[in-house]
Amino acid sequence: MAKIHVSTTVNGEPVEFLCDASSSMLDALRGPLGLTGTKEGCGTGDCGACSITVDGRLMCSCLMLAVEAEGHEIATIEGMAQGDKLHPLQQKFLEMAALQCGICTPGVLISARSLLEKNPDPTEEEVRFGLAGNLCRCTGYDKIVRAVLETAAEMREAAR
């Protein structure tokens, strides 16, 4: 069957790609769009490694069809740093060693950014619930949660 042509915006840039009707957004990102920062863990919505935002809302790219991207604004991990300047969450994850193998990290960062946009001053419990859709087999979560809380505190301070 003929491929479908999709026009969308990824990290602020207009892009076009071709896909099958059954391709997931994750397939499109990692395939024709060449953006391999978004990871595949499970493909079934359980692990959050594939987290992106669509029109500012957090979603699993494995549970979205690529054709659904038409006309929407997609944001991936590749758009998180501004050039060489890391996002405060990325910086803090490095400083506090909030990652080990790193496969979950892009998804965790996208999800944490979305959490802090909605709630700049979360409690530890709110961070844990907010990140419940992101599984990590390595860190035991504690370093991740502390890095998010620490970043939130610094971002609040910087915004004063």
Binding site: S24, T44, G45, M59
Partner: protein, 289 residues
């Protein structure tokens, strides 16, 4: 994979036409958090996917006044949570919808998908049943309405006829003294499937229950409306005897299965416990309204 056809009609008539024409070969796509998982597992093999999110009615939230709302079947949990008026009128329905999956799943999952997927453990369904929600359905023969509890027919099966699409949920006006709540029991603290789900909706007047509805999930092939439990509460001041009678009615309504999350005996016991806890929360909210 032999590839499928993707359609994103802009009108309900087109969607119904395409759905009926596919004669069982098509599936409706709302958030896809069930459908895409089932396709990936090879359980669902549609030849055509009909995305309903470009149909304005499917994604609209309409405030009908007095606490009444019409919610498009494909509205996501995340969008519903942002509606302050809805949150105030129907906190129990909202907490049930927002219990579906993670924040990522919330970005897509809809109450229409939750209902039509017809899992006995779907979280939003008992709360919608307790709310007295009525669904509007459109099919090749026009529109009809059904109380939400009449939609599921069994695990994974609904009473929708071929070509029918759920369009919206209508929740009734809220008299003064109304409150609703939803609680579920899961073995983990989040991201799990309900062992029991309980929705309670009350109207209180001077501390006396004037109206009540109880929706019970995950303990029978379909979500149940437990009328005996509601009868036990109506006319009472939610004293221990009335609550125990309502809890007993919930236990009696259970026809659960044994599985790794809970045994039959455990589910039945928990149904009674959750009735009391959920009614207490609904009553507290009713007191504040």
């Amino acid at each position: 994979m032999t590839d499928i056809r993707y359609l994103a009609p802009r009108t309900l008539d087109e969607a119904v036409g395409a759905f009926a024409a596919a004669a069982g070969g098509a599936r409706i796509l709302a958030g896809g958090t069930d459908l895409l998982v089932q396709m990936r597992a090879g359980v669902a093999k549609p030849g055509t996917i009909i995305d309903i999110k470009k149909i304005p009615e499917m994604t609209a939230i309409e405030d009908l006044g007095g606490g009444a709302f019409r919610i498009g079947a494909a509205v996501s949990g995340a969008v519903l949570a942002e509606h302050a008026g809805f949150r105030k009128a129907w906190p129990g329905v909202l907490e049930a919808v927002n219990l579906i999956g993670s924040k990522q799943v919330q970005g897509r999952a809809s109450p229409g998908g939750n209902l039509c997927n017809a899992s006995p453990a779907g979280d939003s369904v008992p709360a919608m049943v307790a709310a007295g929600a009525v669904v509007t359905i459109q099919g090749p023969n026009g529109r009809r309405e059904l109380p939400v509890e009449k939609v599921p027919a069994g695990p994974g099966r609904t009473n929708l006829t071929p070509g029918e699409i759920v369009v919206s949920f209508t929740l009734p006006a809220r008299p003064k003294g109304s409150g609703d709540a939803y609680l579920r029991m899961i073995p983990r603290t989040e991201m799990d499937i309900a062992v029991v789900g309980m929705g309670v909706n009350l109207v209180l007047e001077g501390g006396v229950v004037k109206a009540a509805r109880v929706g019970l999930g995950a303990v029978a092939p379909t979500v149940l409306l437990v009328e005996d439990a509601a009868r036990a509460l109506i006319g009472s001041r939610l004293d221990d005897a009335a609550l125990e009678a309502a809890a007993a009615a919930c236990r009696a309504a259970c026809k659960p299965i044994n599985d790794k999350r809970g045994t039959i005996a455990y589910r039945i016991k928990v149904a009674g416990v959750l009735l009391k806890r959920t009614a207490a929360i609904a009553a507290r909210r009713a007191g504040g309204n």
